[in-house]
Symmetry: C2
Subunit: 236 residues, 2 copies
């Protein structure tokens, strides 16, 4: 099994109301990977938020002016240290500063997380299908920290058309023993893989992953499959 | 930028004392990706533990017989729920059951984490260089859960020849603003990407990732760069 991950260059600055499905279709063709059924398209959160207008004004002279927005976007504060707030957002994600950030934004603006990233992914997927007939998986990704390990990795905020979790419970391992629990968060591994080609400062906000097994494509959502209910979480 | 990830099929059952470097070199060639400088080789922990003899006997009739081993391999218990123990291992990892598991093991045996996975990666890297002259990066990966998000993902236990964290602090984003902190845990994203082709039950314990930027290759270790010191951790 072999996968190829291609970062799409040449995507223009995205404004509110942009047709992201059309942008992706055009960029994929221009980058030599015209979209086809069973491709996975990973779209970084920033351009989704920009297209959807999930942007707020902040005071560019005040480095803390986005903090009230962080509080407003949070339903539960888990930790504070200095200026850093780790909270549960109203979408159910646990991350720093409610996912709000200022990088790659115009001065005086900050991007919020999309209102419903699974819906954002579905809309992009539907638009791609309408334009090309290709049945692709779409993941909306963002960059989160994690406890216990330094460094950030990209994970999925939303998905459509690709299973969020691949459930190998009950499959046999190579020695014929029954595997009891191996639920792989493939959308997070796909989001992280895409980040390897998207980078943080090169203007490559979309990646196409080709070679994913057909059986992984199905109706799914990050909200339903990945977001852990606080009641079953040992660290909240 | 484009990456290709190839899972290596046909790797035989690994016994104690196996020459993993030679196994990887041979399997890469047999799978059509003979190793070359700037390839990244991701080796799953299980075969490293088997080759190093990091294996203990357990009572196959007692599903809890590995629990004393979990306690011995742990320096700090973070949470318990039912049979599940989340602990900090003596290597500094926070994971379930001290990383010990029974899948893909002979009945009556359990694999421990390698004694020093960075050293394991260095040995494999050195052996590959000796056999082929190729300067590759090597990652030893394992499958961990995480708080807040359901599902497991593969992360790096050890690395050699590839930077664990790519530090983009101070680089400019696409709008010319200074990025303040973007430390990407690329070894974890590479480990997760490899898991997409290795699967859990298909006997594909090694992947080759081709296309990684030359600048990412350097001396590094997971212990030094990824493992977060408890004093700077907000969730321990």
């Amino acid at each position: 099994m072999s996968l190829t991950i291609t970062g799409l260059r040449g995507i223009p600055e995205i404004d509110r109301g942009a047709d992201l499905g059309a942008v992706v279709v055009e960029a994929a063709a221009a980058n030599g990977v015209p979209l086809t059924t069973d491709d996975v398209v990973v779209v970084t959160q920033k351009i989704v938020s920009k297209a959807e207008g999930a942007v707020v004004d902040v005071d560019p002279s005040d480095p803390l002016s986005h903090k009230p927005v962080v509080e407003r976007e949070s339903v539960r504060i888990l930790r504070r240290r200095g200026e850093l707030i780790i909270s549960e957002t109203r979408h159910g994600f646990v991350c720093a500063n409610a996912g709000i950030d200022l990088s790659n934004m115009k001065r005086g603006q900050a991007a919020l997380l999309p209102e419903d990233s699974d819906r954002s992914a579905r809309r992009i997927r539907d638009r791609i299908r309408a334009l090309t007939t290709a049945e692709v998986g779409v993941i909306v990704s963002d960059t989160f920290g994690r406890p216990w390990r330094r460094g950030l990795t990209d994970v999925a905020l939303g998905c459509a058309g690709i299973g969020a979790i691949l459930d190998l419970r009950g499959a046999s391992d190579s020695l014929g023993r029954e595997l009891h629990v191996t639920e792989v968060a493939v959308v997070d591994e796909l989001a992280g893989a895409a980040d390897l080609v998207c980078g943080k400062s090169e203007g490559v906000p979309v990646a196409v992953i080709r070679g994913v097994d057909h059986s992984w494509f199905r109706s799914s959502s990050v909200r339903a499959e990945i977001v852990r209910d606080p009641s079953e979480d040992l660290f909240r």
